[in-house]
């Protein structure tokens, strides 16, 4: 067992964890933060994407012990009173259907906009390459990210 202290969505937690415990399982099963889902076991789908110290990571590919001392933001902590512009834009553009990929997609898109505040459609598509969606065909996700970036929205 290892001792870790992690701040998740603004709350500080100290826990004893097995060294092999994945961050996503720590979030879901120890902290009850089930907003972040698991979609695969090879870090291809991105459903479990969260921010670690402000940068997006796939929380199935991070051990809980690696998050010791880190600040984690999940989809549950993204809204700050008001919804995040990406949450609003995903709703407005119908960029989700079943919603399973949505937390990871939004967290990845937030990181994309942090590094490129006005991406082209191609940059949005390339930037979200690590996040899979089976429902939307991505068209409306691209529109939503474009809308959130304040670049207007035209089909």
């Amino acid at each position: 067992m290892a001792s870790i202290t992690v701040t998740v969505d603004g709350v500080k937690y100290s826990d004893e964890v097995e060294p092999r415990l994945l961050l996503v399982h720590y979030l879901r099963e120890r902290l009850g933060k089930t907003g972040t889902p698991v979609g695969c076991d090879t870090s291809n789908c991105g459903a479990c994407t969260v921010h670690m110290n402000g940068v997006s990571v796939k929380s199935c590919a991070v051990l809980a012990v690696q998050a010791d001392g880190a600040e984690i933001t999940t989809i549950e902590g993204l809204a700050n009173g008001e919804w995040h512009p990406l949450q609003e834009a995903f709703k407005t553009e119908h960029a989700l259907q079943c919603g399973y990929c949505t937390p990871g997609m939004i967290m990845a898109a937030a990181d994309l906009l942090r590094t490129n505040s006005h991406p082209s459609d191609e940059e949005i598509r390339d930037g979200l390459e690590g996040n899979l969606c089976r429902c939307t065909g991505y068209e409306n996700i691209v529109r939503a990210v474009r809308r959130a970036a304040g670049a207007g929205v035209t089909p």
Binding site: E18, R20, L21, H25, R28, E29, G32, K33, T34, G35, T36, P37, V38, G39, C40, D41, T42, N44, C45, A47, T74, I75, E76, L78, A79, W83, Q87, F90, K91, T92, H94, L96, Q97, C98, G99, Y100, C101, T102, P103, I106, D121, I124, R125, D126, L128, E129, G130, N131, L132, C133, R134, C135, T136, G137, Y138, E139, N140, I141, V142, P155
Partner: protein, 795 residues
């Protein structure tokens, strides 16, 4: 309570933002894997590493001693109660339906088949302990190729042999049609095996209380069918089973199943009297969620020189996999009626042979039989156009049913109620700039551009809205095709709607609210939609086959009509008028000609709550149920046009533009419809370009992860241009048609037609799916080296 119910703009047709989204966007979701119950244990399965083997021993005793392990079971431990997983569609009287225990006891027939289960305190401990289960196998030869499986002397998957059934259908005089036609061409197409890959892996939680009452949470499309199956096939009294489908993260047919894991979770929980959970990993899911497609298709078409199609002849081999699951054998039959598509002809013959293999069973996957049929007919229409020297759109137009010929009985005996192929095609042609692209194609061919342009066409239709119960009966399906809905008028005038249609991402909560808002004249916000829990929604046939709106939505409209009829009686009493004089307009019940003096239906609902002043014998309730059985399928259609650029040096395919003009009848919510079309198209593009479940020569699945099984990302798919024409269905009061599968059915042939069109001058007339750079490059090399790019006989 307001009496100002000025008629608002109709809700149906509005691009309403979804009610579902708030919880999904903020992480306040209720996925099955989120569920934690006191004392809950975790299951992990030991699965066969062999495609085919005899089990000589299973020893779970060492696993029982591992840390945190509460129990471990082999198939033999459940021999008396695990029964056989059901197949609900015995398509012929002599079909072979093998015994299919949830956990194998004597023999395993695909890699991934469950042989033992470990139950532990947490999922890590359960996963650790499966290594301590000792299973001995005696390998048997795998059966991996459908054609070889039918040959004399092939190893057998089951004692009874490798053929499950042969189903035939014939109309007109196919022999005469093919004998007399001046042009006959034949092609062989491969529908590769696909893995559905809903983003949410399957998950199950089962809990059994002290009275033996069972609650099963499952990531399923079919809570009602599952409850029935657990009772009918596993002997659990139906009144003691509650099935809940909480938020379900996509299905695409893959969660239209009664699974081994669901049954075993119930059995283990009942045995241990503790709640148990099982959540699959993606790798486990790719192995053991039912697969889709997997057919060899031989198709022949007979035509006159002027392009008139005379007849069609189809011979399928369909890979069932190792067992028949819920609707495995019926999937190709859903395609049987769709090969003639939108075209008129004199004769049609169809034969399908269901073949066993030592692979994961196949079953419904988005489109289920119809994408396969649409692919073959749309591909061969292009081939026929080349043979006749006609433009492929012109050939289609020559043969399709004209808009003034509806209703039209097709050669496959379906009655298409409505459609307008001319309008959808004209609009698609315009948006696509068809003539300009053809001119560019000519120029690039003439200049010898190494990157060639191809244009692909798919003028598809499909049959959906499953289904009229009598049709299902005639096809030997084990259940009906109706749907149920209830409307509960709450005392304060708010409304609860209960639907038997179980949503898993489609947006029922929004669309159903729109329908009820218009029917009852009450605000969209005043309506709450309940679904997916058999204790709340006791009756339903669930969600698949693009049936929710065309069956469940109509059931809902019927329930609303009954509410109104009840409200009229009460309003007549309150207003001291004759019931015959009461009219219902925009949410108000009033005496004919005097709308100002009426009562809102919400006020009438309150009157039934107090019930102080009802006439003798009047039931104090407006609540109503309706079960709707459709008269016919629905037949959405459309024209999809795809332009591809194919690099003849590398084989790389790029979709340059994609235009989809769909006609799904009246639209309840255009936002949702467009989303379904986008997602459906991309799933069909994925079959055309990227996805294939690959087994090696020993029967090991090589594509167990999303690194190997290439579900496309945003970077891999094009921008899609969509538009609609609107030809209302005449077979239901809302005029609606299904949309959930249309895109997937349409897009695969559009893309492959475009690729072949690009390569046609090289003598190539087929590229096997998925059209990866390697497959395209090999087709080009074969054509260059030997001139054998032709697909005339078998491959």
């Amino acid at each position: 309570m307001t009496t100002d119910t000025q008629a608002a703009a109709p809700e149906v047709g509005k691009a309403r933002l979804r009610k579902e989204d708030a919880r999904l966007l903020t992480g306040q979701t209720n996925w099955t894997d989120n569920i934690v119950l006191p004392g809950m244990l975790h299951m992990c399965f030991v699965r066969s590493p062999f495609a085919h083997a005899r089990i000589t021993s299973v020893d779970v005793s060492a696993a029982r001693g591992m840390p945190g392990v509460i129990a471990a079971f082999s198939g033999a431990d459940f021999a008396g109660e695990q029964g056989s997983l059901p197949c609900a569609w015995p398509v012929t009287p002599d079909i072979v339906i093998p015994h299919h225990p949830p956990m194998a006891t004597d023999e395993v027939r695909y890699v991934g088949e469950a042989v033992a289960v470990v139950v532990a305190r947490d999922r890590y401990e359960a996963a650790d302990a499966i290594a301590a289960v000792d299973v001995n196998y005696e390998p048997l030869p795998p059966v991996l190729d459908m054609r070889a499986a039918l040959e004399e002397g092939s190893p057998k998957v089951h004692e009874a042999g490798n053929k499950s059934y042969e189903w035939v259908f014939e109309q007109g005089d196919p022999i005469a049609a093919f004998r007399d036609a001046p042009v006959v061409i034949e092609r062989n197409y491969r529908q590769q095996r696909l893995i559905p890959c809903a983003m949410e892996p399957r998950a199950v939680v089962a809990s059994t209380d002290v009275a033996g009452e069972i609650t099963l949470w499952s990531s399923t499309q079919i809570p009602h069918v599952l409850r029935f199956a657990l009772s009918a096939f596993f002997g659990i009294p139906e009144q003691n089973i509650r099935v809940i489908a909480p938020d379900v993260g996509g299905g695409f047919g893959s969660k239209l199943q009664v699974t081994a894991e669901e049954v075993l979770a119930v059995l283990v929980s009942s045995k241990l009297r503790r709640p148990v959970k099982w959540t699959e990993s993606r790798s486990e899911g790719n192995l053991t969620v039912h697969h889709g497609r997997d057919q060899w298709q031989r198709i022949r078409i007979a035509a006159d020189r002027d392009g008139r199609v005379r007849g069609l002849d189809v011979d399928l081999l369909a890979d069932m996999g190792a067992y028949l699951m819920l609707v495995t054998p019926g999937v190709p039959l859903l395609g049987a009626f769709m090969f003639p598509a939108i075209y008129k002809m004199d004769a049609y013959s169809f034969k399908c042979t269901g073949v066993f293999s030592t692979k994961m069973p196949t079953d419904a996957y988005r489109g289920a039989g119809r994408p396969e049929a649409t692919f073959a007919i749309e591909r061969i229409m292009d081939e026929l156009a080349v043979e006749l020297g006609m433009d492929p759109l012109q050939l289609r137009e020559r043969n399709w049913i004209k808009h003034d010929e509806f209703p039209y009985t097709t050669i496959a005996t379906l009655v298409y109620d409505s459609g307008n192929y001319e309008a959808a095609t004209a609009r698609a042609r315009e948006l696509f700039r068809y003539d300009e692209l053809r001119a560019e194609q000519e120029a690039r061919r003439a200049s010898g551009d190494p990157v060639q342009l191809g244009i692909g066409i798919s003028t598809f239709t499909e049959m959906c809205g499953l289904a009229p119960s009598r049709v299902l009966g005639s096809l030997s399906y084990g259940a009906g095709g109706w749907e149920h809905a209830s409307v509960r008028m709450l005392p304060t005038g708010k409304v609860e709607v209960v639907t038997g249609s179980s949503a898993h991402g489609q947006g029922h909560e929004t669309a159903w609210s729109q329908i009820v808002a218009d029917k009852l004249g009450i605000p969209f916000e005043d309506i709450r939609v309940l679904h997916g829990d058999t204790q709340v929604s006791h009756k339903g046939m669930d969600t698949y086959g693009s049936r929710s709106l065309t069956v469940g939505g109509i059931a809902l409209a019927g329930a609303c009509d009954k509410v109104i009829a009840k409200a009229k009686k009460l309003a007549a009493h309150v207003m001291e008028a004759s019931e015959n004089d009461i009219e219902f307009t925009a949410g108000r019940l009033h005496v004919r000609g005097d709308p100002a003096q009426g009562r809102s239906i919400q006020e009438i609902a309150l009157a039934t709550f107090a019930a102080h002043d009802l006439p003798d014998g009047m039931e104090p309730s407006l609540d109503s149920d309706h079960t709707y059985d459709p008269d016919n399928f629905s037949f959405p259609h459309g024209t999809h046009l795809c332009a591809t650029e194919v690099d003849t040096e590398t084989g790389r395919v790029t979709i340059r533009s994609y235009v989809a003009v769909d006609d799904v009848g009246k639209v309840v919510n255009p936002l949702i419809v467009e989303g379904q079309v986008h997602g459906g198209i991309v799933q069909g593009i994925a079959q055309a370009l990227y996805e294939e479940a690959v087994y090696d020569d020993d029967g090991n699945l090589l594509t167990t992860t999303l690194a190997d099984y290439l579900v496309p990302s945003a970077a891999d798919v094009p921008t899609i241009t969509t538009d609609r024409t609107e030809t209302p269905a005449t077979t239901n009061p809302l005029g609606v048609k299904g949309v959930g599968e249309a895109g997937t059915i349409a897009s695969t042939p559009a893309v492959v037609n475009a690729i072949v069109d690009a390569l046609r001058p090289m003598g190539i007339n087929d590229v096997p799916m998925p059209c990866t750079p390697e497959h395209v490059w090999r087709a080009i090399q074969a054509a260059r080296d030997t001139g054998t790019g032709q697909n005339g006989g078998g491959q």
